[in-house]
Symmetry: C2
Subunit: 220 residues, 2 copies
């Protein structure tokens, strides 16, 4: 699989710009746990994910975190180039949740192409629109859903991502995804266990009844 398949506007470019872009784009190996972006500090460029998993989150001054979205294979990490986008002024952190392989388009290259090709600028719009939609979805979850629904949805999503019913997740980590305190997570998980939806053990959560968890996530 080559780079052009991950960058849908590649063939819009002139042959000259295609070779320029191809020669300036590099495949990067990113170790799990690497902090890729810390608003206002790093501005790496556009990352096109070939494999792996990134996590974007915001953090309070006291260190409370909440996961805003995740990026997987074939997703593009736009906000690692946020410094070239006018009006984007918020503190977003991006880390590698798994070992990740990604093509990096340098800032100056992407900025140059955006200025010259309407198709590239519109592609940025599409990417931003996708992230905007995810953020609005999250906002609705936070505002309009109860915590039991959010936690049930989160466990089902994790299970789908990992392709497994047993999740190696600490309560602390779940709290950081959902923007709450560890105690709140522990209390709700114990309630889920008493309902037979999950089974808890040291450092792991097993989904015992997927249907029951789905019912919780959907109830009003």
């Amino acid at each position: 699989m080559c780079f052009s398949e991950y960058f849908p506007v590649f063939y819009v470019l002139s042959p000259k710009d295609q070779s320029m872009l191809a020669s300036r784009t590099a495949l990067r190996q990113i170790k799990k746990g690497t902090m890729l972006h810390r608003s206002g500090e790093d501005c790496l460029g556009l990352l096109l994910i070939r494999s792996g998993q990134l996590r974007a989150f915001i953090s309070s001054p006291e260190g409370k975190e909440i996961t805003v979205y995740r990026l997987f294979e074939r997703d593009v990490c736009l906000f690692s180039a946020s410094c070239i986008m006018k009006n984007i002024q918020f503190d977003l952190f991006i880390t590698a949740e798994k070992d990740t392989e990604a093509w990096l388009i340098p800032l100056d290259v992407y900025q140059d192409l955006s200025a010259r090709y309407a198709a590239v600028a519109n592609y940025t719009n599409e990417l931003m629109g996708a992230r905007f939609t995810e953020v609005m979805w999250l906002m609705e979850q936070i505002l309009f859903q109860s915590f039991d629904q959010r936690l049930a949805s989160f466990l089902l999503e994790e299970s789908a991502i990992e392709g497994a019913f047993t999740l190696s997740l600490t309560h602390e980590k779940i709290a950081s995804h959902l923007g709450t305190a560890r105690e709140v997570v522990t209390r709700m998980l114990r309630y889920f266990q008493s309902e037979g939806a999950v089974r808890l053990s040291r450092g792991a959560i097993e989904i015992a009844d997927e249907k029951k968890l789905l019912d919780i996530s959907l109830r009003r």
Copy 2:
């Protein structure tokens, strides 16, 4: 003041496109209370606000609302054209909070210009970036601030918008801005009154001590 001053990329266009745009753009009078946009139903076009005030909000299936942002003179209402933007898939409502006068650029015109001019597409990026930043700010408020801080900030902001210390606002209305229940607002306002920060009367809230309100909004 003419239209071109409200649309910064106007002079990037060819003379022919300038006249086309000018001839297709119409000044609209929008009465206070008008629902301008209901996701998935209306798709009006780009609105450039000459005077007045718009409010964008989301709503739960049960009708609970929260104000996401507001638009004032010289702001551009992008999401009233959301149907032409790929990947924007969330339910946003936009209403006129005051009598509003705005230039309307029809959908097909804006779509055509975005496809042909990188500058127009990049301008859409800027607009989306500005709204994205406001939404992320709101998310941080909801997640990381306590309700007394949010309410104090809201009252100060309203006072700045209206240029007055007495605000004609029901507790119900404030609840719809902040995404909470009326009782929660009433309780907190009474607490503010007992602290001497506000004075409450039927249908109105008077800011009695701006400094005190500011202190509340900033404390951690």
